[in-house]
Subunit: 479 residues, 4 copies
């Protein structure tokens, strides 16, 4: 039950046949294709980092039976585990500069673990046992797992059961002896095609008349009927256009967050991989547990990104020889403050976490949401401050190909050097910053894990308003 | 060595002769005077709360010898202790709605403990032993202690030794066999006159030619030559004018933060109470340790205030029957987020604290500063949001005396009632909010513990910029 | 028809019998009483400034018949007039450092002028003629006029007609041959008791079944049944306590905004002073016109305050010898930017104003609201920045009486001096800033003229969303 | 002297030989190339709009001799002209959704007009006459003109004359009988290659020993030695990759701001086109005049963009059927407020403009800077609010090619429709928003016209601090 290496992970998915489309074409080989490769490399690094001596404490965990597994497939059994989960998120973001892609899997595994335990306990079903078998299989084989939540939703004014097209939320269209047939689509799926298993969960709490939508299951990306369409944003275009580029790509190896839309075209799921079906009352729990874990982890994820991007901004100020200006120092310190704040709140969400009936741990409900809310707003503020700091070359600079062009290259070499940096060094850091301040990160930060509004709704629901009211009334009346 | 009760504390200071002035007059009895009484009551409550069963875990601590003491005079021996310190700050702020006045004492005791340990270890002096005796005396008698830092500073463009008047920073003007004579003044002293002992520390790091300014000692407020002048702001005026008021005072019993200016008019300090003298190199340490502890604690202090003020805002929206509006709920949730963020970062500063050579614990340097910075900015944002929410009556409402006036009272009763609240109830909560949104809290929050700029300077100094630079360079180059 | 002098204004109101209460007592003489005197002096200055040569262009206007009148009682007849109205607001705020108290009167006169014109034109009534007579009387005698809008409102969940107590909005309780009897109360009335005439308007649009609430009229403060209760906030307390103070009062002569609650205890209004009664459909117009003018003027009012307060902050930095620090300069410039922005938007609201059917001018609807919204948020930001800048003495400093105390005064003189300022100079500027950053200005700024939410609602209603949609669709489709 | 049509403009530049590089290749035809075409189309539209009846008042102006010319080549002769300049900026941004590329030219022409007038008047030179001839030529032929300021700067710690490589700022390397030879490079040049003439100005004030850098002149893009390298950011990559795309391009015809680096490789400039050479003292004036005009115009430029992007956001909320939510309406109104604020301040900068000695008009110095500062910060806030509003599909959506793909297209059509919009309609608006919230606009907004810091420095320099100090001192002392 050894922790896999990155190269082993890559081999394990090499032979797969996956229905995946990008920019109007089918991708033949996700390991080689420039627009999927960065995702594969990122996932591979989550394996390799588990072998780095300094990181083992964070990257791995010990099961009850003493087996050492990757923490990304672990079930949290203590506050310290939650704290390690926070450190894990920061570490991976800092090492990759992008999504690690297994983070939703960790949160989905923990959410399903607890929910199936509850359903069985209250209803005498056997979901938890099924899930434990699946979990053991995942842990033993150190599988890459993602979680899939966001449905396409159709009309936002109607509930799932009210949609003219009933497939706007993933649902069971047929029940068979050996399993179920599911239909629907999930959007914003970070790296799902690179996973061994995808855990599909409902995106919202379902009601009694929405039992067909109350379904949770695992599915492998190479299952018949599963189709992926890769995102196509401007950065994907740059990668597609500039296959041999390095400087242009900002972070050449790991790139930006690679998402896809996943379509479930009447896919068969055997009962062994079905973890909830029809128990609509528990859909709320399932989503709540996932969300708490994911929002806690979302904050240090941004801190890890901030480590990278503040480092980049600092390097740029050194290239420009302005790093000692009081105004610059003030701004850099403010960025650090926003970044560390996100980390700090998440740490507190972990330490103020609570033990569940199933013996697992969930973060503090309010602090987990606050971590995500303040963390994402803080990171967006950091990005804006950097956009204010950089001199504009991030978006107006020439390409690396021009830099090497026989005729024009020498002029760029001459005119884009600074006192401390060569033209190449300057362009490299500017293009790196482009990735962050002129790319998908603003949207990704604000929308990933739900937009700020959703965290405020959660906070409002969790606050004990009566207790606050009572406390203030005491102060008002005490003479 | 029992923990004192509030009433015992009050008795212990009743007979003292203190030189204290307010609004052009000498105060004869600080226990009875309307402008000092709230401070006495607040300190008294820090004693009484230690006897509340539910709060004992936070309010008290166990010394190595097994004695139970008030946590406000305790030396932190673990991360858990730092965490309790954070909870203590929030609890006291929430229970009092104002300063607890012993908080600076706690931080000063811990800072002096560690600094004297270091000086002695490196120089063979006996400051630490002296201090341990003093500490034992404080703990055994459960004394109220404050810390005094901020000098009057004179010209901000000159160092202490360069001032035309050499007394702009507290200094030793004479060295005697039995002790030293000190002169100078400290401003912004929260509740110092109500303390049993005041620990005086330098306000900045001193240089070799500033040895006379490198001095730390304890002094009792009733020592000859010690004089206090109470703050006189508009809220003090209200208290002075309206001695029999209740509603007007917002928090009738505990009021607002009561500060004073403390003048040391050639005061004799026996050697037993001198904890540093001349060792200018350690002044930086002393201030750093105090500051780290105080900034960590400053954040949950604001969260406790926010608990109170958000509770008040919520109560007002109920009185006005607007508490279900989506916009109102959104704003209240945002306030909670800012407040809990401050708490969370401080919790993290505690858990990521570090053991010192003296066996004590200091909070994480960056997180402690981030906690204070984000906490104070967040609380100010909360206050502004509440000023946006309240309908204006907080500053335009009539007085409680008008409400009871035989002629005009009935009109006010009629016209200031809402659907859910009587005129008195409405006015009470509006006047309570006045305290926060139209009083000294904006300034107090931003200036207490140092203005935001100072925290940014500290953060900038503590960040490992080279490590950030190295990390980003790795990402830029990895292919 | 000469413009009155301040002294004449004061004489004109000296003999009045006004029912006015403060802090549980009846005020006998509003000209002498410390808590009403600043309002009288402020209004008086609006007369005197009209005689200052440099200000005549702004302070006065020429009627169609060539008579020169104070611009505060003028009906705007051009865009240039609206622009002068903007400059007037800034000038008065800058000269007074507080409310000029006649501003609501100017806006009410203009709103009633236009509304009565419309009602008559569409209904053949004679309101406009009545109003023109009243206006002529006001202009000829250069009367101080205020506008009264905000009702007490009772339950915010119910409309006027649904309130258990029908008097929560001012209404007509009896119609007589010679006039009407009105009952109700108006809150937040700035300086109304110091006016010659108060124009009472509804606070919201009324419906068909609310005709008794659809009423607008003029009333003099000394009319039988009119009663005032002065605000009692902490600054009023300071004034009441410290009758011979100067430094303490911040702006000794003009003080803070003085508001009162006005109760109409079955007051008789002769038909001559009734400007709308029963025409519920026009209540929306009346409020809209008043609001547009008042929101346009609200912004430069804040810029005038900002001129004062930024000047104060600058002076403080000079006293402290930190005015050349890059960080300080940056902050001061940011304050100026927020302040001038408010002014600029208001100027644009004037220049993009529109001519009405009555030949008068109204500001641009969107820009008037934007001016108020951005202006008030900007001024609050300025206050917070100043709270960040000041060293805390604004709220912790001793009183001016202590400064002169025979025993303690010399210590304060010694210790509160800086390199550039005496203790008195330093305290004076700190106490001046207290007025702004630790007083009613946060609330006053955000609530006066309606809280930010109301401006956003107005903006949303005025935007031509379909035009924006059409424009973007063009861009999307043009190939 | 008729105003040209867009098609005539295009023909006028068709035959030019321009040295221009993109992504490692020489562009043969800037009219056809996908990455330069949008710039050509944008400039062409500035011609066509001058023929639209409704826009003639804004788009054209009348010379003293009665000739009607395009306002983009006009010298402002009144406040009304400045106001029209503001409207022009908004109109063009709203019609194009991108840069109009002739805006810097307008500001450069006006700045050079005034500066040459001053130099000649004080020194008896003939620059102004030369310039008038050039201006007449430009106006008569309705030429597209841009201004070129930003030098590459080399080490930011050194002045132009101190750089190891003396070519880091454009300079004269040789003086000849018939003209001068210039060398250097300008970056961030918006659409310069599409201009008929480029006016090159110094980027900073020069000193006596920097006379060779004190040079201003006009140059045509097809002059020998002039070379351009196009920007290569991710959006350029998308255009380069997806030549037949429509939806993907957001604004298919006009695209994003197209900038280039311009290299002056020892270019000969005849004396007729040299407008300043050696008169270092006037470089400060030249830059100040340009900057004032450009900052005034920068704000309404952003308002025009905001018209487009808020329209897009509104359309998206309609597609998603959430446009009636109170929270959504609140956010849209807040966006409008930020946008109109920018416009309003610029209008005020125009109306408070001042006549110069040369008879031209310059905007109010403080307001012009405030307009730019608040306008750019406001627009960035709008972008962030939209990033918060959009559901994420802006960066995670599939490409338009997938939508039409024979195999996968039908699934996308099914799953990406909403209740109100087809998949294509939804993707189109999401991709349009991508342009703004995941592209170069954050940086472009904050850096174009100088980063916020530079506006604050200007404001600080222009404020009359002594006057503010004097005013507050009056208020402090008046009793």
């Amino acid at each position: 039950m050894a922790i896999k290496k990155g190269s082993e992970y890559i081999e394990s998915i090499r032979k797969r046949k996956i229905d995946i489309f990008f920019f109007g074409e089918k991708i033949e080989n996700i390991i080689e294709h420039p627009n999927t490769r960065p995702v594969i490399y990122s996932v591979a690094k989550t394996y390799d980092l588990a072998h780095v001596e300094d990181y083992k404490d964070v990257m791995t965990a010990v099961r009850d039976d003493g087996e050492i597994i990757n923490r990304l497939v672990y079930i949290h059994k203590s506050k310290e585990d939650l704290y390690k989960r926070v450190q894990l998120a920061r570490l991976l973001s800092k090492e990759l500069g992008t999504c690690n892609y297994r983070c939703t899997g960790s949160d989905a595994l923990n959410a399903v673990y607890l929910t199936t335990y509850m359903i069985d306990k209250e209803n005498g079903t056997d979901y938890h046992e099924r899930f434990l078998r699946f979990l053991d299989y995942v842990q033993k084989n150190d599988l890459a797992v993602t979680g899939a939540l966001t449905d396409v939703k159709g009309s936002r004014a109607l509930r799932p059961s009210e949609q003219p097209d009933p497939d706007m939320y993933v649902r069971v269209v047929e029940e068979r002896d050996d399993g179920i047939i599911v239909r629907g689509a999930k959007i914003h799926q970070s790296g799902s095609y690179a996973a061994h298993e995808i855990i599909v969960l409902p995106t919202r709490a379902m009601r009694e008349n929405e039992k067909e939508y109350a379904v949770a299951f695992a599915v492998s990306p190479d299952t018949e009927g599963v189709k992926f369409v890769l995102q196509f944003n401007s950065f994907e275009a740059k990668r597609a256009l500039c296959k041999d580029c390095s400087i242009e790509l900002g972070i050449p190896k790991y790139g930006i967050r690679g998402t896809a839309m996943m379509i479930l075209d009447d896919v068969f799921i055997p009962w062994d991989k079905v973890f909830l079906y029809g128990e609509y009352k528990y859909t709320r729990n399932l989503i709540e547990y996932f969300t708490l874990l994911h929002r806690m982890a979302g904050a240090p994820c941004k801190t890890g990104f901030a480590d990278v991007v503040i480092g980049g901004a600092y390097l740029l100020t050194k290239h420009l020889e302005i790093e000692r200006s009081p105004i610059i120092r003030d701004k850099l310190a403010e960025m650090v403050s926003k970044s560390e704040a996100a980390y700090g709140i998440a740490v507190a969400a972990a330490y103020e976490g609570e033990k569940t009936d199933a013996g697992t741990y969930l973060p503090n409900k309010i602090l987990a949401n606050v971590a995500k809310l303040e963390g994402s707003l803080g990171f967006v503020k950091i990005l804006t401050m950097i956009a204010e700091l950089t001199g504009g070359l991030s978006v107006t600079g020439p390409s690396e190909k021009d830099l090497k062009h026989p005729e024009i290259g020498k002029y760029l070499q001459k005119y884009l050097k600074t006192g401390k940096a060569s033209a190449e060094e300057l362009l490299r850091i500017e293009k790196f910053l482009e990735l962050w301040i002129a790319g998908p990160h603003y949207v990704g930060t604000l929308q990933g894990g739900g937009p700020p509004q959703t965290q405020k709704l959660s906070i409002s629901a969790y606050v004990n308003w009566e207790e606050l009211e009572k406390n203030v009334k005491n102060l008002l009346s005490e003479e």
